[in-house]
């Protein structure tokens, strides 16, 4: 897993609520047995027509917008538990997703794949969308150590919450399995002593 510390980037705006993981990566693209190349089909049906030609008006096809920060409406990542959604975002190059609300499973999957989900207030999300509307190249500065996100054009900033353990994992590129494997003896003991 890649480490995350400071991100300074322009943004890709997706001002839609309840973006479900079937939109992030439709089920028909879940047939791979490796984690590679899911980015090609990120937002497939919003991004391409049925003849595979790009849909001009979708944000990922608009060269005006670029960067490693995706900004989305509330309840991002709802629906299916497919981690392929996180793999697709990661493969496409997204490092941070900003929204006012994330679905639980997606949030966990993102953190397990080196993507930082930042939950901001509705007001801040609104300011960020407006800043991007005004200047598509508007940049944000994200500091994981400080737990802050700042819109550089307007100097609006907000702090965000993150579980301290998950923060440590992201800063160091660690994952949960390393930790759980270190608990082997306790797990064995639990199995031996449980009454039911």
């Amino acid at each position: 897993m890649e480490k995350i510390e400071i991100i300074d980037s322009s943004c890709i705006p997706l001002p839609i609520e309840d973006v479900d993981t079937d939109q992030i990566i439709p089920a028909r693209f879940l047939k791979a047995t490796t984690k590679e190349n899911f980015g090609d089909n990120l937002f497939r049906d919003w991004r391409y027509n049925s003849d595979d030609s790009p849909k001009e008006d979708f944000v990922l096809n608009n060269p005006t917008y670029s960067g490693v920060v995706l900004v989305a409406g509330k309840n991002f990542g709802c629906g299916s538990s497919r981690e392929h959604a996180a793999w697709a975002l990661e493969d496409f190059g997204i490092k941070v997703v900003v929204s006012s609300f994330f679905a639980d499973i997606f949030k966990g999957n993102a953190l397990n794949n080196g993507i930082l989900p930042i939950t901001v207030s509705d007001a801040f999300l609104d300011k960020l969308f407006r800043a991007i509307e005004k200047d598509p190249k508007a940049r944000v500065h994200v500091s994981l150590p400080d737990q802050t996100i700042k819109i550089l054009d307007t100097s609006d900033s907000e702090t965000f919450d993150i579980d301290p353990y998950k923060k440590m994992c992201l800063l160091n590129g660690y994952d949960d399995i390393d930790y759980l494997l270190s608990k082997k003896d306790q797990i064995n003991e639990f199995e031996e002593t449980r009454t039911y």
Binding site: P15, I16, E17, D18, D20, D22, Q23, P26, A27, R28, L30, K31, A32, T33, T34, K35, D45, S50, G73, K74, N75, C78, G79, S80, S81, R82, E83, H84, A86, F101, A103, D104, I105, G108, N109, N112, N113, D163, P164, Y165, D175, D176, I177, Y179, L180, L181, K183, K184, Q186, I187, F190, E191, R194, Y196
Partner: protein, 463 residues
């Protein structure tokens, strides 16, 4: 202070508490399928480790499998490779597999309960968000991502933050033609697609108590559709009776001992929930969805709202545009070309019996293509033994073999672009049943009535 059902079960599985409040939770049963497991097995290989407790994981193939000619090789190459990968992985790592052709094969959330793998008081996970289904047994069951599948394979544990607790009580008596599916669609329409996020739900109240295990599974199944980690129901005589005698359930003296423990699994009277809701049976009609998430639901007598309400207006308009429906219009009377009865929500024997009883002697409308897909080989076998297959076929339904089928547009069963499908499945997301497909979620009875009439009708007028 007393404990909730959720906390009783959770506390019995905590191996360790980590700084910052995370807990190492022991997982009793782990179900896997072909779609979300290959990368997890590869992860084990990359780390050079084995499956820690192979006897606690059970595999089946469901998402990718065709529902016709299952004895032949899968035609679609990528699906065939993925299903074969599961066979190879299970063999290499010593995991029990009920694969294609096995009499126990079926949708992972149908086979767990019917085989007695699912039992009260357990912790269960699967790389599939509808794992919440198993909560019907008083089980803490929830969907996980593939990294977590790997964690469970490697250690039989997960590192988790305890969710908040919500109780939803549904009181009263359901009127005729109103099913468990309507109850959960109603709840989601009230709470929205995000209303349960961060919570684990306990369903309670006289309506829930009166439901069969099949009905309870339908309710718990869709907990994730309001964002909840899972949903559970305290086990009672209905539960014990269902589990009794099933293949992997405790037998004889062990069963009696288990029941004695299961009887302690209820929420104490003075236990406190972070959030509570109460709904009343008399407010619940047969339900339909009109939009592109399961929270966008209305009663059959109702109209599509004029504005998004809690849903933002832009998302509301986008959904209606995708669905080709107008704000303020009724769904009743709307013509439909496809009916799908199946999925982990509504593909159990009780669902099939209900549908067969309703369509017996009737004919599917000429403008409708209708299919019934049993949730498992065992459900299918039972249906055939009872002659339900003949009733369904005589009425013009396509009666298929077991699998996830048209719930998710991953196998050969898809709804064509732009067409409407009244579906007993769990998700009406854009493209869920195939690119451009328009899904209207409903109960098995509403779906059956739609198939016969060729348009959306109020099933209460036909029973």
């Amino acid at each position: 202070m007393g404990k909730t059902l959720f906390d009783k079960v959770w506390d019995a599985h905590v191996v360790d508490t980590v700084d910052g409040g995370r807990e190492v939770l022991y997982i009793d049963k782990h179900l896997i399928h072909e779609v979300t497991s290959p990368q997890a097995f590869q992860g084990l290989r990359d780390r050079g480790i084995k499956v820690a407790r192979p006897e606690r994981t059970v595999a089946t193939a469901d998402h990718n499998v065709p529902t016709e000619n299952q004895h032949l090789p899968i035609r679609e190459e990528l699906s065939r490779i993925q299903v074969q990968k599961l066979v190879d992985n299970c063999e290499e790592f010593g995991v029990t597999l009920y694969g294609l052709g096995h009499p126990y094969q079926g949708i992972v959330h149908v086979i767990g309960p019917e085989l007695g793998i699912t039992q009260p008081g357990m912790t269960m996970v699967c790389g599939d968000s509808h794992t919440s289904t198993h909560g019907a047994f008083g089980t803490i069951a929830f969907g996980i991502g593939t990294s977590q599948v790997e964690q469970v394979l490697a250690t039989q544990c997960l590192l988790l933050t305890r969710p908040k607790r919500m109780r939803i009580r549904v009181e009263g008596e359901l009127s005729k033609g109103v099913l468990a599916k309507d109850v959960i669609l109603y709840i989601i329409s009230q709470l929205t697609a995000a209303g349960g996020t961060g919570y684990f739900i306990e369903y309670a109240g006289s309506v829930i108590r009166s439901l069969s295990m099949e009905g309870r599974m339908t309710v718990c199944n869709m907990s994730i559709e309001m964002g909840a980690r899972g949903g559970m129901i305290a086990p009672d005589e209905t539960t014990f009776e269902y589990v009794k005698g099933r293949e992997f359930a405790p037998q004889g003296e062990d069963y009696d001992k288990a029941v004695a423990y299961w009887k302690t699994l209820y929420t104490d009277e003075d236990a406190v929930f972070d959030k509570e809701y109460v709904y009343h049976a008399e407010d619940i009609e047969p339900m339909l969805t009109y939009g592109t998430n399961p929270g966008m639901g209305i009663p059959v007598s109702g109209e599509i709202p004029q504005t998004g309400g809690q849903q933002g207006d832009a998302s509301f308009r986008k959904a209606l545009s995708y669905m080709g429906l107008d704000a303020g219009s009724k769904l009743e009377g709307h013509p439909v070309n496809h009916v799908f009865i199946g999925s982990c929500t509504n593909s159990r024997i009780e669902d099939l019996r209900l549908v067969a009883k309703f369509v017996n002697g009737k004919k599917v409308a000429s403008n409708v293509s209708a299919m019934v897909v049993p949730g498992s080989q065992q459900v299918r076998k039972q249906a055939v033994q009872e002659g339900l297959d003949k009733v369904l076929r005589d009425a013009g339904f396509d009666f298929r073999e077991a699998g996830c089928s048209a719930c998710l547009g991953m196998n050969e069963d898809k709804v064509p672009a732009g067409q409407y499908c009244v579906s007993t499945s769990n998700r009406n997301f854009e493209g869920r049943q195939g690119p451009g497909a328009r899904t209207i979620l409903a109960s098995p009875l509403m779906a059956a009535a739609t198939a016969i009439e060729g348009k959306i009708v109020d099933v209460r007028e036909y029973i």
